[in-house]
Structures are given as C-alpha cells and as structure tokens.
Symmetry: C2
DNA sequence: ATGGACCGAGACGTTTCGTCTCGATTCAGT
DNA sequence: ACTGAATCGAGACGAAACGTCTCGGTCCAT
C-alpha cells in the first residue's frame, strides 16, 4: 500500500540469498499442506524457514505472493511438466487425454491445497490474479489454443472458431466443478465435456 | 437422548432479536462495499450494527457465513428475482438473454464485491461452499436444467444429453472468465458461448 | 579495510481474534 | 404478576499475527 517516494526501496536482487529463498518456498508449501492456507502465517513461514521476517517482507508483498512463487518454483523443478498436448490427428482423443490429466492434477491432494488457496486469493485480489493468470494459467491455455489451430488446419474444427473461446468451453466447466465442488470431478465428466463441446448440443440435422 | 454437551450450545432461535439480525446484515454489506471483504472485521460489523460481538459469534461460525446470510437476505428482499428463464421456443435466443443478464449481474459493482468474497471463501472452505451451492448456485442452475428439458421435448436438443453437464457448458466458461479475469466479460462472449455449445466445434458434415 | 546491503533474530505497538463477564431487557411458564 | 432463563449491548481480556523497526553479524565490491 505504501508506495511513497523515498520509502520505496528497491532491494537489489544481486545480493539476495538463494538459500533463504528456497527455505522460504519449502516452508510455505509445507505449512499450507499441514495447516491450510488460512492458518499459515508469515511469522510461521519465517520461523520454519529459519529466516527473519524482514527477509520475507522485503521480497514479497503478501502471503499469497510468496505462495505463488513457491508454487511456480515447484512447477519448474518438476521438469517433467513436458508441456505439450499430443497431436495424434484425433482431436477428441487428445483433448480427453489432457483433460483427464487435468482432473487428476486438480484432485491430487498435494497440489489441491495450494492451488485452491492461490485461486481463492486471486478471485479477490486483482493484482495477484494477473500474475497467476500470466505466469500459470495463460501459458497452459495457450497449449490448447495451439492444438486447436492444428486441428483447424486438419479440418477437424469448424473454420472461423475463436480458439480461445473454444478452450474455455473445455476448461471452464472443469474449473467450475472443481472450484465450487458442485459434483464429482471424474474422467467420465472430462470425456463428456469433449463430446458435447465438439459435437454440440443441438440435434445434428 | 442426552444432547446436553456442555460445549455444544444451541442458541434457541425463538428468542432471537430480529432487529439485530437486520442491523448485522446491513452493516456487513455496507462494510464489504466500503472496505472490501479482507478489511471487514467482525468487530467492525458489530460496532456499525450497534450490536455486541457475542451476538454475532452466537449465531454465525465465521465472517463468511454472516455475509452469505446477508447476501441471501438481500436476494430475498428483491422479490423481483423473478427466477424464470423465458421459453419462447427458440433455445439459443432464450439462453443468450439469460446469460447476458448474468454477465450484467457479475459486472455490477454492487453485487460483484460480495459475490467475489463469498466465492473465494467457498473455494477454500468446503462447509461454506456447500451452503453457497445449495442455497444460491443450485437453485439457479436448476432453472437452466428445466429449460433444457423443455428444449429436449421440443426437439431442440440432442436426445440423451445430460442436462446438468450441458448447463455447465454455458455457465462454466462464463464463471471462469469472471473469476480469473482472463478476458473481458461481454454480451458478445455470452452469445458466442451459446452458439459454440449448441452448434459444436466440429465441422457439421 | 571499509562501507553498504543483505541476513537472522526478535522487540515493538497495533489490530483483530474469540471468549468471557456484566447489568439490562425480554419472553415463557407457573 | 412473578420469576427464571436466555438474549441483548457493551466492552475487558489474553493470545495471535500483523508490519515496522532496530540490533549485530556476514558477505561482497570497492
């Protein structure tokens, strides 16, 4: 909040302690898993990481920002995030494969807690949300867009479709069910979504 | 049946002060609008409502629960919530009308702040989420289901479609864009969703 | 070697939490 | 009409976390 003139210190990333940064990430993720996001405190993260509170306040504006960076770091470590959607020539099959994987990830207890925390915070904090979307969501959605472009070239998609809207037709309902826990999130649901979205709800004349 | 746990107090709704209840709703909604949800405190609500803190803690388990009830009460006052989806025989047109109205509501500043707060809290708090879904979301989605059933009878829908999934095909992407602020939420987007979902993304042979 | 920036540690005043106590008031049952 | 129990407004209370601020200590560039 306090962005006054001389007070705004720019903490020079060169002198930054890599050791502390990692320790903070580990502590943050561990505490969120153990206590949940609401009962995870910055003081708790600092204590667990063996770090001064100021070291956190110097580099991050909020608890949520710490968790976002920790989460991004976690994703980068797992280089197996081979971020590619298969292109077998069968669009429906490829989409089902990826959406099923997404279902598995969203229901994986290790990822679910921090993801929910970040998402909830983003719903209410536009600045954090922008970071979240830019660094996590959009890159992921772009993979779908690319696959749909390829599908259009192969004649598997109606020409003129807005690929971005089409992606949201798959991902939106999935996210909706996950966020609001309305009904179980299953592989079958993912498959049905693909079938309905590709085939349409209207009778095929 | 000995349900007299000393710990479990059942605060007997008969003696409850209607006056205080309303004052708390008003104060809660006003403060959330003025300060945002995060900086709205239970102490602040109590002070603004001219009410003892205990009166809030006695009847609600959390700040979010207060806001949910306040929000529900607000909706019940506005009896003009004539909760019907038109049935003109043109499914696409009817859906576009309702989805456009939903877009307007989601972007209405008066409703947006408390709705975001409740949704965010629900993402992270399963108990609150269940209440939210049961009392706000599901009744609303049921209207769509009913309209789709009518459409199926009229031959406007492929037979055998799971109406609930179909509803989520419309509402999911809308909610996705609203929650995560990925792209602007417009009437055009609502229309496109209806066209894509009904017509399907695959080429119509 | 020396100055500056970061570091861990923690003291500090503040805010809010959730519980508890206190009379006053209001309602139900004898 | 009396009385007892429960809620009411008001606020005191200790605990917890906030975010800011010193402290020395350490590391690096000058």
């Amino acid at each position: 909040m306090n962005e006054n003139q001389p007070n705004t210190r720019t903490p020079d990333a060169g002198r930054r302690s890599e050791r502390s940064r990692r320790a903070i990430y580990d502590a943050a993720l561990a505490l969120v898993s153990e206590l949940g996001y609401a009962r995870t405190t910055i003081e708790g993260i600092a204590a667990r990481a063996g770090v001064g509170k100021q070291t956190i306040y110097r580099w991050w504006p909020s608890k949520a920002a710490v968790l976002l960076d920790a989460f991004l770091d976690l994703g980068e470590q797992a280089t197996e995030t081979a971020p590619v959607i298969p292109d077998t020539g069968d669009l429906a099959a490829d989409l089902k494969l990826v959406l099923r994987a997404t279902v598995d990830e969203l229901t994986n207890p290790a990822f679910e807690a921090p993801t929910r925390a970040l998402t909830a915070e983003g719903v209410v904090d536009p600045a954090l949300c922008a970071l979240y979307v830019e660094r996590l969501l959009n890159p992921s959605l772009q993979l779908y867009v690319d696959r749909l472009r390829s599908a259009e070239a192969a004649g598997e998609l109606r020409p003129g479709i807005d690929h971005r809207v089409a992606v949201e037709l798959f991902v939106g309902p999935l996210t909706h069910r996950w966020m609001l826990r309305t009904l179980p999130l299953t592989h079958e649901y993912a498959d049905t979504l693909v079938d309905y979205a590709l085939g349409g709800l209207s009778p095929r004349a």
